[in-house]
Symmetry: D2
Subunit: 457 residues, 4 copies
Amino acid sequence: MTLWGGAFSSPTEDAVRRLNDSLRFDWRLYDADIDGSIAWARAVADAGVITAAERDTLADGLERIRLEFQRGEFVSAPGDEDIHTAVERRLTEIVGAVAGKLHTGRSRNDQVATDVLLWVLAAQEKLTSALTVFLAALRRQAQNGDNLVMPGFTHFQPAQPITVAQWWLSHFWALVRDVERLETMAVAWRHKCPLGSGALSGTPYDIDRQRLAESLGFEAASPNSLDSVADRDHVADFLYALAMIGIHISRLAEDLIIFANPSFGFVRLDERYSTGSSLMPQKRNPDPLELARGKAGRLIGHLSGLLATLKGLPSGYNKDLQEDKEPLFDAYDTLAALLPPLTGLVNTLTMNADRMRAALIESMLATDLADYLVGKGIPFRQAHGLAGQVVRLAEQKRVELSQLTLDDYRSISDVFESDVVKVFDYDAAVARRRASGGTGDTERQITLAESWLKQRV
Amino acid sequence: MTLWGGAFSSPTEDAVRRLNDSLRFDWRLYDADIDGSIAWARAVADAGVITAAERDTLADGLERIRLEFQRGEFVSAPGDEDIHTAVERRLTEIVGAVAGKLHTGRSRNDQVATDVLLWVLAAQEKLTSALTVFLAALRRQAQNGDNLVMPGFTHFQPAQPITVAQWWLSHFWALVRDVERLETMAVAWRHKCPLGSGALSGTPYDIDRQRLAESLGFEAASPNSLDSVADRDHVADFLYALAMIGIHISRLAEDLIIFANPSFGFVRLDERYSTGSSLMPQKRNPDPLELARGKAGRLIGHLSGLLATLKGLPSGYNKDLQEDKEPLFDAYDTLAALLPPLTGLVNTLTMNADRMRAALIESMLATDLADYLVGKGIPFRQAHGLAGQVVRLAEQKRVELSQLTLDDYRSISDVFESDVVKVFDYDAAVARRRASGGTGDTERQITLAESWLKQRV
Amino acid sequence: MTLWGGAFSSPTEDAVRRLNDSLRFDWRLYDADIDGSIAWARAVADAGVITAAERDTLADGLERIRLEFQRGEFVSAPGDEDIHTAVERRLTEIVGAVAGKLHTGRSRNDQVATDVLLWVLAAQEKLTSALTVFLAALRRQAQNGDNLVMPGFTHFQPAQPITVAQWWLSHFWALVRDVERLETMAVAWRHKCPLGSGALSGTPYDIDRQRLAESLGFEAASPNSLDSVADRDHVADFLYALAMIGIHISRLAEDLIIFANPSFGFVRLDERYSTGSSLMPQKRNPDPLELARGKAGRLIGHLSGLLATLKGLPSGYNKDLQEDKEPLFDAYDTLAALLPPLTGLVNTLTMNADRMRAALIESMLATDLADYLVGKGIPFRQAHGLAGQVVRLAEQKRVELSQLTLDDYRSISDVFESDVVKVFDYDAAVARRRASGGTGDTERQITLAESWLKQRV
Amino acid sequence: MTLWGGAFSSPTEDAVRRLNDSLRFDWRLYDADIDGSIAWARAVADAGVITAAERDTLADGLERIRLEFQRGEFVSAPGDEDIHTAVERRLTEIVGAVAGKLHTGRSRNDQVATDVLLWVLAAQEKLTSALTVFLAALRRQAQNGDNLVMPGFTHFQPAQPITVAQWWLSHFWALVRDVERLETMAVAWRHKCPLGSGALSGTPYDIDRQRLAESLGFEAASPNSLDSVADRDHVADFLYALAMIGIHISRLAEDLIIFANPSFGFVRLDERYSTGSSLMPQKRNPDPLELARGKAGRLIGHLSGLLATLKGLPSGYNKDLQEDKEPLFDAYDTLAALLPPLTGLVNTLTMNADRMRAALIESMLATDLADYLVGKGIPFRQAHGLAGQVVRLAEQKRVELSQLTLDDYRSISDVFESDVVKVFDYDAAVARRRASGGTGDTERQITLAESWLKQRV
């Protein structure tokens, strides 16, 4: 028996019921649903709608159902359309007719809105945690690589030498923005508890919605009941934040996948974090990284899909909004499954200092050569042109920049002096970039990263 | 024990294995996987790599596994990473060491490419079938509504009268394009059987790939092994085609949702295809239609996501491609779950002829008024302006167009004569549009629709 | 002559140059580019790289170029690849060789990153302003509608009566979230000034990046140079925020488009904000609303596209990132062009109180009937079922709920008493929902809305 | 003066007009618009609505306008909302009042639908042409690389040796699918000429729509007028096809970008097709390839955006559909600007045979080693495990596979014999894959490619 069929004479068609029913995925809201219901029972008791004894009976019954879920003992019944009806049906079995008082002044519309928002808030915290652990692994590798020099790329061409630390930290700080984005979003989310919005127009009982909101960990109640039952901004926010995490991870993955190719050989994955081939026994495939890169697409898709679903909906609750949950759950599960193996992969991989240094080429110091000329008083734009001529000359002579003779240099500009050889020192080039944020400033960045992490443990 | 671990000393980390393993979703490929394996066994036997007896042993074992899947008796084992390893592991249990010969000259890369393509081809047929049944329901309603007149909208404003048939048929023909799009795609898909592509470079055995392709129902083998193992065009095609179906259905759903609102009252859903409210007992909610509209967003998301996943991948098989299956399966399941209840909903709904006729307003015949003037020799552009002045005058006088006096008309143009009253006949306006495709041409369209449907039964 | 061709012997192919060159769209960054360059000139002067006199010469020249842009007098030259080279070329013409010193220690990579971020910050402020004006129009209409009752919908079916104010405010508060989202994002954006990051590895000069950042209105410099030159999070954030604005506006537009259809007739658009038809002179088409709804799709597309572009990029600057600007500019332009006419449309439209009241139906008070029973001690769930039976009985008898006799009521439950008639008062039903956020709480919401707006003027 | 304002008393607000007007982008439809109008003039003349003389006057005037557009001499006037009104306004100036007869029985709804469809058909042909030229460049490079061996990757790890030809051809055949997809789509598009659909309900004149369709190069008229004015399937199809082209090109670009990095050094771009850095004079940046990769994101975005715009629209023409044109034009322009420089880039790049051969490693022959064992009667699965042990042993001894002694081999399996050394021959490994589509089958593929290209010149 459904909870809404009073005015209906024919039962719902089976195929319709299967289409509508959401318990197969929204059972995951049970914790939020029970929290919300207990808070609601207290609120209606405070408003004098039910007695304190009824409130306690309801709360005890709900806690028992929570235990059943936690122990995997909850058994669904045929009429359980969704988590809300499943819980209320079971509550009726446990506490009897008084269960029928729980829904007073409430609707499934504000109930599910509350459930989803509570779930998103909890998911945000768990994800932030997992990201912090991942970030700690990045920071650790940065520390390991503080004195190692590797080629830094632009346009994926060797550009300037950087430390391995700078490279790891570039991914670290990008993901820090992601964590902070989620944290900032959560602040806004905590200011709009929807409970007490009813089906669309509010509740006719004398509910103190601010107090109710606070009892659920919110800062404030939502300002408008009609908006509240149809607001899925937090789901969109969350999917956006997760898509960005996916994108940042995909960029790290792309780097590592390429660096693991033997032509680079910068990195070797631990066997526990790579896989083989059914046909080619020699392979060390970076599957977790490829999946990380690929799953960024999935996360982008969930966001695009939800936004398309929300676009153009009429006011108030529409059943279309039931389509928010599956992408939400899947996006979270995707990252929850991805971050631990990626953390392990980062923690166990080894960087090959020799291969990285061997990939340095002296033309990566051409800018330093230009800066050398700037130091001699040449405007940068002209110095840049002269350095370019040096690179060209070295290419023509098929030698490295440092192998050109002083005469060669002076054939291009008589500003060059014998001290030009000092330019060709990768470590010095790195050290010169000690202005904040530069590759010579990684020690400070690592300390900063450590503080950031400590605040979140 | 994995099938590829020969060169590895450490086992894969659990979290990595869980991330990589795909059996939880790709078991659905079992039919395709077994078909592919039997065909492959025959091909390697034909090439003299295994004996005819070995081939038959393998084929018999594979058919037994198919039965186990069909009966729900297949039991997975810890090392079963995916459907391919699960089947091969079980085959070894059944037929012994000869199972180890099945994978000769093949790779999981060409195997999974073949499986997915076979699955897509089968899914296309099932979906085309379900769509045809849905289209038959639309056609039936069109026939019911062949003589009913309703307002046709542009900009969602009353524009011109149309028959209910024309409205149903507008959705019918849009979905016909979708069926034909799928059918046309399938022709291309059948020309690129990937089996025999190996891991990337082809198979070193003397396989007749054309014959192999035909034995699996294809027209031709794929032209290039490296392309073949990374080609997921058919998945993208399929997701695109399904997104378009979702969009066309969402437009029908939008119309019906609005028409079911009592301010319109054009349509009443059968109780079996609508649901109630937990708070508001009077509601008849068109849930299946709202879900249909919302799920169009999900389908768009799956497409966007897959395209983002494919973009920028290096050549050859990358594990990112494993991300093709879940959106593929979910997109298919979405429509497979949606079409039957929608078919029932369309078959059982009733159109309210009175409400539709009551919504007609005479200004919807303003174009006919202009055409009346054209008939009197006025150029259309001028006639259009004069008809506009008539509408304006009627609005000022707060009367219907037919209630204006002849003097009123002649105050605007003396071309108007007493026969102008004949313009204000909705049925005549409909009948006039008998040029092909017009609202006066629905009888022919219905016949055409019937022929189209008959070809597909 | 390009600025980078020193090492090249052949000129770039024309088609390549056309593909690469971005001046045709990035000229819009001129203000940000000039601000950034003046700040940079000061920073390198502070670091002792150039003299104070050189700094002033550069700054004066740059201000002159700004004037040329503002007056539409800037003339581009053949080699102007982008705004940066155009400005430097022109600066050289104006101040001579000293212009060549401006780029010392800087790269186009950190320069363009800074330009785009400054542009986004400015765009955010202009958009917030335009949104606030739009919000003021919504609030004004809310105030007009504070005593008007209209049907509130769920599943687009009449659900419960609400005030027109509550409906307008539901859109108001959704857009408030959008403004606050943008404002919160801007706080994060102001903590990551990229200038001084060089091409990827930082600047070799002794630049005080914190001071530099502050001189451009930032709170802090970005933490890592490599991350900084490839970070387009703010573009993604901005596109996401704009997509959400588009979605919220599309929902308002959808409501108004439907309400403007004569079957509803709730709203009439002013002629200045609607358009006609070339064929049907009577039409009042709500074009701006339809475009608003449609453009939400465009905004979603720009976001999806940028995310796909960013996904899987290797570290550091890649030319792919040039694809950030056109969607960014177009998204901003889209809303900048949309908000003023929408504001006018909202300000000038009229709500038809009679049509809205006529659309109320007594079954919308069924929940209140259940609450009436709750007041008599019946648990809500049971009360809900009884109210449903009443609705059903009224339907069978083809009467309104208030036309049922007391005997009819008591045939369903003897708890019903003669006071049941008091339930059928729409205004009372609205007034009862006075708990915060409810439809009876709009006066407080309007005051709150006013305070919110005042803070932003 | 607008063409539709007859019934309006107030002029449209400027901001609304700017929002609505589309001439700034839809002027590009002029050719299609004029073709459609001439065809329509003939059709209404055939139907006896206008005289043959009027028809000719209209046609001559329209041809004169076409010339004005072609010569860049067309001057727009203030009231020109879109290409249709601009052309009709100008026609009136040229031929006088008879111009007012052109729009008889037609609406801008069927007119713009026809224009867009004609434009898409023409764009498809131009794009197919540009793709064919690009494909010819790929084929040419394939021929150059028919005897060069390079590492083939899976999971971006060295997997098996392939020829350079096979690699180029893998991209060739993927793009062939794109051309064929467009060609197949065009067949469907040519069966649905919308002209004669009127605003939504058809035309009241006796138009032979089949003949009209054929006169515009179509095979058939569209079946339903209401569907026809709102059908944008061809725009979605086209955007989908272009997104797929973008994706396939992005994969080629990704390969080449990585191969151009000196750690690979497989490929060197001609200077005319690469660019330098403003800071680092030594750079050869593969900008066109990066832009190609990045623009795939833009193309995906245009598709996602249009689908979101179409989703959930009510029946008939809605102004939202005006949002189809800008993504359509931009998607086409994107590829039209990209393909020529990419063609030049492919034609002028050089592959470095030495670097490619140097990147081969003997473990890439491990599968061949397993196949060697299969040849000795070992089931493949067991052979695969033994080959893995060999790889492992070689790794432990830090030698290449061919440097292991026969004793080493026999310590793993006594099936190994002295002929095992013959396995370590990359060219032989390639040649063995001569089954169709394999890397040993490229000569046939190149011939096939040539035939395919010839059919399209």
